[in-house]
């Protein structure tokens, strides 16, 4: 009796899930597997991967406004998880979406494998004027365009006003002041001043660039040759600086983007958070800035090495690219150009601080410029911090093996955190490691 009942249940479940599964045999580029609901029937569908927190709304807006194409969206994970999936699909020759959200620093990595489509011929001229020159530069390799810019990541220093007030410090303008302030808070028995996370190597790369490092020089006209310079004095100084802060116990060494870190931020365990313009939106999504810590955050410009010659840098910032596996590249390009380019989506993005837009119509919108950001207790963060930072950002040349470089950096930084090597040694090892990899991959390393 009992067994028969179990068997019946099992059979039912099997039949049920079998039916569900049958409809989805087609794979990742099959339009039947969308997270969003497509209401318009008999319209060509373009598949897309992306992880903006408000992607659902962005896609719905696009689909509402278009009758000739509909977007089918899937979130296959953020950053590294998505790149692994995409990389796997490239190797398999199948399974990639038509359009993919990528950070600008990954574009050369995928481009060199021939995985992305040059979209210059598919309507670049019509939207060219919507973005600044720097924005286009970040998504181009040589004179070919491999992505449509969506958001940038001008960096600033997010800090806790309550902690700064309590210990009577003002936002540091230089990194030397940052260390002094950190020491002051520590001496007074206060919380950690910041955090050195091994899992956010891109931040350290940005901070090295701020000091004058230029990790990679790569000219796509000469694809076989690459400049790798990861252990120059500037790179060493920055790693030594942060390694020193960690050793002195001034900053934490917690991985960022983890629940542990988030709860630390909520509970005021860190006085500052060196991050980009999109961070407040992500923090809000995780519950920061609500409840007990409402209105406790503010933002100041990134501290400088030489206040007389300030340098602004970028973390993150992403684009929509068209993949080689897109069956109709022109249609896919239309989606890439049109997604997150309408006013409603952009406005939602920047009001919630999820993106720092690169679209000039948004950047010049007085409502954006003067926005009083709720997360920062009404501070006009764009005008005061992020817009000047974005304007001064010069662009960077990225490596065509970004994944390896960032993994290697994480490895060395975690050694620094462990205290087994100094920042300088880490830079030397990183140089050796990455240059060796580049050679193995057939590059001539300069």
């Amino acid at each position: 009796m009992k067994r028969r009942r179990i068997l019946a249940t099992v059979a039912m479940l099997a039949a049920g899930s079998g039916l569900v599964a049958c409809s989805s045999d087609g794979g990742g580029s099959d339009a039947s597997n969308c997270t969003n609901t497509i209401t318009k029937q008999n319209v060509p569908v373009v598949t897309m991967w992306g992880w903006y927190p408000n992607t659902q709304l962005v896609v719905d807006n696009f689909n509402k406004q278009h009758d000739d194409v509909q977007v089918c969206w899937t979130n296959v994970g953020q950053g590294g998880d998505e790149y692994d999936k995409f990389q796997t699909a490239i190797s398999a020759g199948t399974g990639a979406p038509d359009v993919i959200m990528v950070e600008a620093d990954r574009i050369p990595t995928f481009q060199i494998q021939g995985a992305l489509v040059d979209i210059k011929q598919y309507g670049y001229d019509a939207v060219k004027a919507n973005y600044g020159e720097g924005a286009w530069k970040d998504v181009s390799v040589g004179d070919k365009v491999y992505g449509v810019p969506v958001d940038g990541g001008p960096m600033g220093m997010i800090y806790r006003k309550d902690i700064f007030d309590k210990y009577k410090i003002t936002p540091p303008k230089t990194w030397a002041e940052y260390e002094q302030a950190a020491q002051k808070v520590k001496d007074a028995g206060g919380p950690l001043f910041g955090d050195l996370g091994a899992n956010v190597p891109a931040v350290l790369m940005a901070l090295q660039i701020q000091k004058g490092a230029s990790p990679f020089t790569y000219d796509p006209a000469q694809p076989k040759s690459i400049g790798v310079k990861l252990n120059d004095q500037a790179s060493k100084d920055v790693l030594d600086y942060w390694g020193g802060l960690a050793k002195k116990g001034l900053v934490g060494t917690q991985d960022q983007f983890t629940p542990e870190y988030i709860s630390g931020v909520i509970n005021g365990n860190y006085a500052t958070y060196i991050s980009a313009a999109w961070a407040p939106g992500y923090l809000t999504g995780a519950g920061v800035g609500k409840g007990q810590d409402t209105g406790k955050f503010a933002v100041a410009p990134l501290p400088q090495w030489d206040p007389a010659n300030p340098v602004q840098v970028n973390w993150g910032g992403s684009a929509f690219s068209v993949t080689k596996q897109a069956k109709k590249p022109e249609l896919a390009a239309k989606v890439a150009y049109g997604l997150y380019a309408d006013k409603e989506s952009l406005t939602d993005g920047w009001t919630n601080q999820i993106i720092f837009p690169l679209n000039l119509t948004a950047l010049k919108d007085p409502a954006f410029v003067d926005l009083k950001v709720a997360f920062f207790d009404g501070q006009q963060a764009n005008k005061e911090v992020y817009l000047p930072a974005a304007d001064a950002y010069k662009g960077v040349a990225y490596a065509p093996f970004g994944q390896y470089y960032l993994d290697a950096m994480t490895k060395q930084v975690s050694e620094v955190i462990k205290g087994s090597i100094t920042g300088s040694q880490a830079a030397d090892r990183l140089q050796e490691d990455v240059a060796k990899y580049a050679k193995e991959q057939g590059f001539t390393v300069q």
Binding site: P259, E260, D407, E440
Partner: protein
């Protein structure tokens, strides 16, 4: 392959008849008919992939310059690659500590449960076995939360004694952090196997021993443990194979501690990174293959030293 040959069962009457008679063809056919479907799967999903992996591992693919045949270069590289070697060193060390620990706990529990027969003991048996029903991935997720200083219970528990909670995800303690996850996950399963083996022992043996004046401890160590030695060897071998292939738990905990658990933390993770993150299937295959070789050597060495190879496989 001699270690693998199965223990020779005494020929039965049926077999003797077969040998004398001339029904060989039919017997061959029927045998292959029964074994055939599995054989097909075996060839398709074990032999073919293995052969293919071996083939792939003989090539090298570069971003610039494409693919070329390099014979054993990838293996030479692997055995001089600090990432691979440190991963192997880790899983070896981890095996040496975690396997004896798990088995000791499992054995102790099995002996206790064999001796204690209260309702509570029966309840305990199920509860201790419970973690085996948890996917390793979910187990790792759960322990990842528990290790959190911010909202895990460790802070509360250690706080009771006025101590600071250790951070099991830091690079100093990750070994123990993983050790705990693995023990929690598997000790109950091994316990059940050993317990089942103990239940199969003829109780009159204990009676005889007791007549001879053996105490409970002597019965356990002199009679029970030797009698379930085959089961012990079996789970030792399986945990050895599993531990050398360590992947799921550290891969999941990487989300919480990417700095501590690098992409080359274990050989399998390194192979995964090479293949799926860096698109280097050739080197990834070589690493997998090299790991397979190491597993084989370790298991062989283990069976050799326990001199039990004939009674197990």
């Amino acid at each position: 392959m001699t270690l693998l040959t199965e223990k020779r069962a005494p020929r039965t009457q049926h077999e003797k008849r077969k040998i004398r008679g001339k029904v060989h063809l039919r017997e061959h056919l029927m045998g292959w008919l029964f074994v055939g479907p599995f054989g097909v799967v075996f060839l398709a999903f074990l032999i073919a992939p293995l052969g293919y992996a071996l083939y792939l591992s003989l090539f090298q693919k570069k971003l610039i310059g494409g693919t070329s045949f390099v014979l054993f270069d990838n293996y030479v590289k692997a055995f001089t690659d600090p990432s691979f070697l440190s991963g192997v060193w880790f899983v070896l060390r981890f095996s040496l500590v975690s396997i004896p620990l798990q088995i000791l706990i499992a054995l102790a529990l099995a002996l206790i449960l064999d001796a204690v027969t209260t309702l509570f003991a029966r309840f305990s048996r199920l509860m201790i076995f419970l973690p085996y029903a948890i996917p390793t991935v979910i187990g790792a997720v759960m322990w990842g939360f528990l290790y959190s200083k911010g909202f895990g219970p460790l802070t509360d528990i250690f706080g009771l004694f006025g101590a600071t909670a250790p951070d099991f995800l830091s690079s100093d303690l990750i070994f123990y952090g993983l050790l705990n996850v693995v023990t929690w996950q598997w000790a109950g399963y091994y316990m059940i196997i050993l317990y089942a083996a103990l239940q199969g022992v003829d109780p009159t043996l204990y009676e005889a021993a007791r007549m001879d004046g053996a105490g409970r401890w002597q019965i356990a160590t002199r009679i029970k443990i030797p009698l379930i030695a085959p089961a012990l060897i079996l789970i030792l071998v399986f945990s050895l194979i599993g531990t050398l292939q360590f992947f799921n738990e550290p891969q999941i905990l990487r989300y919480l501690a990417a700095g501590t658990i690098g992409t080359d933390f274990t050989p399998n993770m390194y192979a995964y990174q090479q293949a799926f993150s860096l698109a280097n299937f050739n080197y990834g295959s070589a690493i997998s293959f090299a790991l397979g070789g190491i597993v084989f050597i370790c298991v062989y060495a283990f069976l050799f030293f326990t001199r039990k190879r004939r009674s197990f496989l």
